[in-house]
């Protein structure tokens, strides 16, 4: 039985007491119980959020470390490109000095 079902049952009973003209401490206690349960229901409406804890999120800690390694490879590749360009430039100068026509 849910809290809502309990509240509905108690409300029906309370209504019957009211219709019968009963107005004593028991009826007041019943009303207090209904109000307390209604307030409890407000809190219970958020209970599904308890399951949020069980939701696992992918561990991405390794990605940061591996990204740093890729950055290192990018820097290395840029250095290699610079070296190749320098070698090619030197080779062209040498070829031109040897009298070989090389495009700029």
């Amino acid at each position: 039985m849910t809290i809502q079902e309990i509240i509905d049952t108690l409300n029906t009973t309370f209504q019957k007491l009211d219709d019968a003209g009963v107005d004593d401490a028991t009826k007041r206690d019943l009303h207090i119980l209904i109000l307390q349960l209604e307030r409890e229901l407000e809190t219970a409406a958020f209970d599904p959020l308890k399951d949020v804890d069980s939701v696992t999120v992918a561990d991405t800690s390794q990605l940061k470390i591996l990204s740093q390694q890729v950055q290192q490879e990018i820097d290395n590749e840029k250095a290699r490109v610079q070296l190749v360009q320098k070698l090619m430039s030197t080779a062209k100068i040498a070829l031109r000095a040897a009298g070989v026509g090389v495009p700029a």
Binding site: A25, R28, D29, H31, I32, L35, Q36, E38, R39, E40, E42, T43, A45, F46, D47, L49, K50, V52, D53, V55, V57, A58, D59, T60, L63, K64, L66, S67, V70, Q71, E73, I74, E77, K78, R80, V81, L83, V84, Q85, M88, K92, L95, G99, V100, G101, V102, P103
Partner: protein, 212 residues
Amino acid sequence: MQSSRPETPNLSTSQRVLCGIMVLAAAANGCGTPMAVKRLSAEEVKAQVSYLGSLKAYFEVISKFVDAQVQASDFRIDRLTKDLEQEFKASAVGQLANAQDDKARRKVLDDLATKIDDNESTATQQKQKISGLVSKLKAKQAEMLEAYQNIAAAQQKLDEYIQLEKADDVALNQLAGIVGLNRDKITQSATDIANIADQVEKLFTVKGASPQ
């Protein structure tokens, strides 16, 4: 009329053939990162960045919705707490009317004070419980967002590497410039040579002879 082609270097035929073979060998070994790969990588990064924006906007909407629900819930809890207090007071008034002496009246008033305190305390605890659960939700959303940001950042780093002009690209382009060949033609030539090699191999196989 001047030709738009780059000036052909003054190399001997054998030197040109040698350079050509070197360039073709380089082309066959590594033609850098294919354009299709670069395009897919760039599009994937764009999609991930866009999705990250959607995720942020979605979580913001959810957070606003939950905050509104908490506000409404707090309002109802406060109203019910007041109603309960009224009931406790009405009940105490009835009990006071029936009290026989001061001691009994004192007990009724003490009980009322305790009930009001407990009532307030319960309401505060309930509101704190709701607030705690909502905080959990927001923390989980932040965790998910951070994880996705890390994934997108890693993909961006990979893309940076993929889009990079590699050393073999530079070498090949420079060599191609020296022997006066277009890079696309080199790649096409490498493909043509591979096709011819296949056909020659098939020819030998048909005749029942080994190409070796």
